[in-house]
């Protein structure tokens, strides 16, 4: 069983984490407003490389590709399971 002291620390940590996330989101939006498209060029250069690598991987691994499509399209199945519960 987790003590109250530990729980309080976890709660405090979670709040701190959320505050950081919110501060970062606000800062990022300000960057977009200030720099426009340039911001995305800077921010996304490594994302584009990662996306290209993922794409190549999926082309070479049709089974993973199939599983990903299945995961993305199973809203209906999830709802059916929820209903069954």
């Amino acid at each position: 069983m987790v003590s109250e002291g530990v729980m309080a620390e976890v709660r405090e940590d979670r709040i701190k984490n959320l505050k950081d996330l919110l501060r970062h989101a606000r800062w990022e939006a300000r960057m977009v407003r200030e720099m426009g498209a340039k911001w995305f060029e800077i921010r996304d250069s490594w994302l584009i490389k990662a996306w290209e690598a993922d794409n190549e991987f999926l082309k070479d691994n049709p089974q993973v590709r199939k599983a990903l499509i299945k995961a993305l399209t199973q809203d209906k199945e999830k709802a059916r399971r929820r209903k069954a519960l």
Partner: protein, 136 residues
């Protein structure tokens, strides 16, 4: 049908069925859209990113469509987006850490055009507070 024709001729593929076969489209319509589920289109063989498409299911979604903003991209393309005031209120209502940071991102990005009264109205409607967004 005209939507799927236009998408197919521009190289899009339907994830849940065969975009060029009317029978398959009818099945997908009956099995997904008519049942309130969404469908996804991807371009060529690229899975991510993809476009999620669904029919308006409630009054808020209907409002978003009727009062959509037109955003012009590179002076060439137009996309319609839900009113930011409603997007923010809805994100706050959903309430996960990611939703809250999305809410603050949208608020800060659209700050110059955000109608605070409208945003407050939607927050009240959804039973959430949004004063914390405006403070800093």
């Amino acid at each position: 049908m005209s939507l799927t024709k236009a998408l197919a001729s521009n190289g899009y593929v339907l994830m849940q069925g065969e975009i060029s076969e009317p029978c398959s489209l009818a099945d997908v319509y009956r099995g997904y859209l008519a049942e309130g589920f969404s469908i996804r289109f991807m371009h060529d063989d690229v899975i991510i990113p993809n476009i999620e498409f669904k029919l308006a299911r409630n009054a808020l979604q209907q409002y978003s469509i009727e009062h959509a903003y037109r955003v012009v991209i590179n002076d060439a393309h137009t996309v319609r987006i839900a009113p930011p005031e409603l997007q923010i209120a809805y994100k706050v209502y959903l309430g996960s850490d990611k939703d809250l940071s999305d809410a603050i991102f949208i608020y800060e990005l659209f700050k110059p055009i955000i109608r605070i009264e409208e945003m407050t109205k939607w927050c009240k409607e959804l039973g959430v507070g949004c004063d914390w967004l405006v403070k800093e």
